[in-house]
């Protein structure tokens, strides 16, 4: 009876009468305090990451085998285990972040995503069967559709992951419409492509702003204050290196082109190469060289790009009255990627050599008994073992080290501002997350 009275006089809110009651109690408690609340200072609380490679390796090894046995269905549970590992070992202040999602949720999300993916793929197959001439248009259409769905999934997937991220007993959440975000992101990507990447900082800032402003921890709203000009200034040298240099070579090659080259090259393309001259071949070589050089430069510049972007994003992020700061450096990123890939290469080679030695030995030993069937099985095992090895090495030597370095580069300014946040838990489906996996343009994990 008394409970009913309480709910009559105060709005119960979305968390039910008990929550409403304790909420009022909490407010009263704060008001009752004789000592006024300490004005939050701008102290920096470093973030920590305590995850060890051994634990992750165990998860990955078991997960790989179970995935194989279940033809891949176990991947949703493996993703969940990996996220639990990363979330559970990351902390700011005394509390770690907890991942509360389950594999079953991801699996259900996958089933929902199938409902979107299947008709698209089916249509593409039908068109390809009945109209083989429209092959190119169909694949471009599917690519564009997947690109759009990928943007949708990036937002909806983030919503799911935040809704399953709990800290101090409260969940994060995300409002807003994934569809509206996907439309905007799609427009921005078109602009980025048209400007050869120069518009990227503005696109990144606009999209990050949308995502962070719709992010909530209880009643504390997220914000993003990253300045696209800053990102542009920091990244311009990289852009010049990766795009500018090859572009300049291409342009100068085109300008230096002798009269009639295009005509002769076109003729050569249609089978008449008798007219080709030596200087035409020089143009071709310059073009091919510029493209190769561009690829190499892009690969070499990638770690720097990751570092610049990560730091700029972190430093722009805020939640309620608190902010993030990051000390992640370009040098750190190069150390992770270069040492990581060197390690993968060396360990991978050694591992493959030992593994194939063992298999060849076993094959020789069993040759008399099992014949071709056994050697076939051994070949499949060898192949899977090598795949597993490289996959685990990549996860441990690159992904884990990158996460650790980035997490440990972070500090929360004014963490105390999040001490008195009030809950506003909402649920979110895992559909977007699984959709992202299905169209293969999702985020890291």
């Amino acid at each position: 009876m008394q409970e009913a009275c309480l709910t009559d006089i105060t709005p119960s809110g979305p968390w039910g009468p008990r929550a409403a009651a304790s909420l009022r109690e909490a407010e009263a408690a704060v008001a009752r305090m004789s000592v006024p609340r300490v004005v939050p200072g701008m102290g920096a609380t470093p973030a920590r990451f305590t995850g060890l490679a051994g634990e992750l390796t165990g998860i990955l090894l078991r997960g790989f085998v179970l995935q194989l046995v279940t033809l891949g269905i176990y991947r949703f549970w493996l993703t969940t285990e990996i996220r639990r590992f990363y979330w559970g070992h990351t902390s700011a202040g005394p509390e770690t972040v907890a991942y509360t999602g389950t594999g079953m949720e991801l699996f259900k999300g996958f089933l929902f995503a199938l409902a979107i993916i299947v008709p698209i793929k089916l249509m593409a197959i039908l068109i390809a069967t009945y109209l083989p001439a429209a092959d190119v248009i169909t694949s471009v259409g599917v690519f564009v559709a997947f690109l759009f769905l990928g943007q949708y999934a990036a937002y909806a997937g983030r919503r799911y992951r935040l809704a399953r991220t709990s800290w101090r007993g409260l969940r994060l959440r995300m409002t807003g419409s994934a569809l509206a975000y996907a439309l905007k992101a799609f427009g921005w990507s078109a602009l980025v492509i048209m400007t050869l990447g120069l518009a990227y900082p503005w696109a990144a800032a606009a999209l990050e702003r949308i995502k962070m402003r719709e992010t909530w921890f209880g009643d504390a709203q997220g914000s993003f204050s990253g300045d696209p000009l800053v990102l542009f200034r920091r990244g311009f040298a990289l852009w010049l290196l990766g795009f500018g240099v090859p572009l300049a070579i291409l342009i100068s090659a085109a300008l230096a082109m002798p009269v009639g080259t295009i005509g002769r090259l076109t003729a050569a393309l249609f089978g008449n190469s008798t007219l080709l001259r030596l200087e035409d071949a020089g143009i071709l070589w310059a073009g091919a060289g510029a493209i190769m050089l561009g690829l190499v430069l892009v690969l070499l510049a990638y770690p720097a790009f990751v570092a610049i972007l990560a730091r700029w994003r972190f430093e722009g992020m805020g939640l309620g009255g608190s902010r993030l700061s990051s000390s992640f450096t370009i040098g750190r990123a190069y150390r992770i990627y270069l040492l990581g890939y060197l390690g993968i290469f060396i360990l991978g080679m050694i591992g493959s050599a030992i593994w194939s030695g063992v298999l060849i030995g076993a094959a020789a030993g069993f040759a008399a008994v099992g014949g071709p069937v056994l050697s076939g099985i051994l070949a499949v095992l060898g192949y899977l073992g090598i795949i597993a090895g490289f996959w685990i090495l990549k996860n441990i030597l690159i992904d884990l080290r990158l996460w650790r370095a980035q997490a440990e580069s972070l500090a929360v300014l004014n963490l105390a501002a999040l001490d008195h946040v009030v809950a506003n838990n909402v649920d979110a489906s895992a559909m977007g997350d699984s959709l992202g996996d299905a169209v293969a343009i999702g985020s890291a994990f």
């Binding site: 968390w15 039910g16 046995v69 770690t96 197959i125 009030v422």
Partner: protein, 367 residues
């Protein structure tokens, strides 16, 4: 009554509180450090939260109707935790629920994979044969034409020439016409001999059959060649090209969409796809063999010619790898043909000796 301290988040605010716990008959009671009771959690509604690092027990209370608050209680005292576990439906062993769930997932996933594969294995051929009949012949012919160019360019670098020596062509037309009439096909038949040393013949959707010179050279009698021709006509009559296209598409679609997408997944998916497809293909070959036998018994030619062809054609038998091959083992095919012929007698030779000689010279003129 023993009491212990624990860290408590009420799930409504982010405030961290040190609380005192006590086990009451009706539930776990939480007290402020000063002494005021905060609330009591009925034992039945307490659950362990998994996936958190470090020792100790972390529990929550199942949310009440119309509430989504997730209160959280971190108990570091293990003795108190086990006392609590004795009263509440809790397991103290870390990860036990996760292990149980994992086992269930693996078992169910195995069952799901097996049933999807079974549906594909048994259902897809049935669906494909129903669908293939619905495809209009004009479309089948168009499909055949588009495959035709690809196949011919795949087989050899230079465009292959067709054999057109007039006497040979007349002999070939004679037998083709007879078989075409008896077979009652849905598409017009067009048989072309290609000037290439391969010992092979194949049929494309839309009624086109290619026979390679190598096969004619190798055949010891007109009956052997006629048997192969009857077999290829069987492929066309049963729309095998169309059916295998539908089966391959459906198979790739199901396996690629439901399974796959993980490290090593491509190998598994490609492997199972190849296995199932070659099993479909073996079935189609058997069907075509039987059709060829039937066709010859109805018109002319000795079906045992086909059997003899397989007997002579001493391709290495796959042995233990029979389940991987796209065609049934030759010995098995020969036996099946023998059984199908049974006591039946051939109505007459496929071609006269003179016609057979003429046919063998068909590649003396090419274009």
């Amino acid at each position: 009554m023993t009491s212990h301290f624990a860290t408590y988040y009420d799930g409504v605010t982010s405030r961290r509180r040190e609380v005192e716990l006590s086990l009451h008959p009706d539930g776990l009671a939480l007290f402020e450090r000063g002494g005021g009771r905060i609330e009591t959690w009925p034992y039945a509604s307490i659950r362990r939260i998994e996936g958190l690092p470090g020792p100790g027990l972390v529990v929550t209370r199942i949310s009440e109707p119309a509430s989504s608050a997730e209160p959280r209680l971190e108990i570091s005292d293990l003795d108190f935790a086990s006392n609590l576990a004795a009263r509440a439906p809790l397991t103290l062993s870390k990860g036990l629920t996760a292990r149980r769930e994992r086992r269930a997932v693996v078992l169910w996933a195995l069952a799901a994979a097996a049933s999807v594969l079974a549906v594909v294995y048994f259902g897809l051929p049935a669906i494909a044969s129903r669908l293939a009949v619905l495809v209009p012949p004009s479309l089948e012919i168009k499909l055949g034409e588009s495959i035709d160019g690809q196949v011919r360019s795949m087989l050899s670098d230079s465009p292959m020439k067709a054999c057109v020596n007039p006497e040979g062509a007349r002999a070939l037309k004679e037998i083709v016409d007879r078989y075409e009439q008896a077979a009652q096909l849905h598409v017009p038949l067009s048989v072309v001999v290609l000037d290439h040393r391969l010992v092979n013949a194949f049929a494309l959707p839309g009624g086109r059959i290619y026979i390679f010179r190598g096969l004619i050279d190798r055949a010891k009698s007109a009956d052997e060649l006629a048997g192969v021709l009857g077999h290829e006509i069987g492929h066309i009559r049963h729309r095998h090209g169309l059916r295998s296209a539908i089966q391959a598409g459906g198979l790739g679609f199901v396996l690629g969409t439901v399974f796959g997408d993980f490290a090593g997944g491509t190998a598994i998916v490609l492997g199972s796809r190849a296995l199932i497809q070659s099993s479909f293909s073996r079935d189609a070959e058997r069907e075509a063999d039987l059709f060829g036998v039937d066709l010859m018994l109805k018109t002319a030619g000795d079906p045992m010619g086909l059997a003899r062809f397989f007997q002579d054609f001493n391709a290495a038998d796959p042995g233990a790898f029979a389940w991987l091959a796209s065609h049934p083992a030759n010995a098995e095919r020969e036996r099946a043909i023998r059984e199908a012929v049974g006591q039946a007698r051939a109505r007459g030779p496929a071609l006269s000796a003179m016609q057979w000689t003429a046919l063998r010279s068909i590649c003396q003129k090419t274009e």
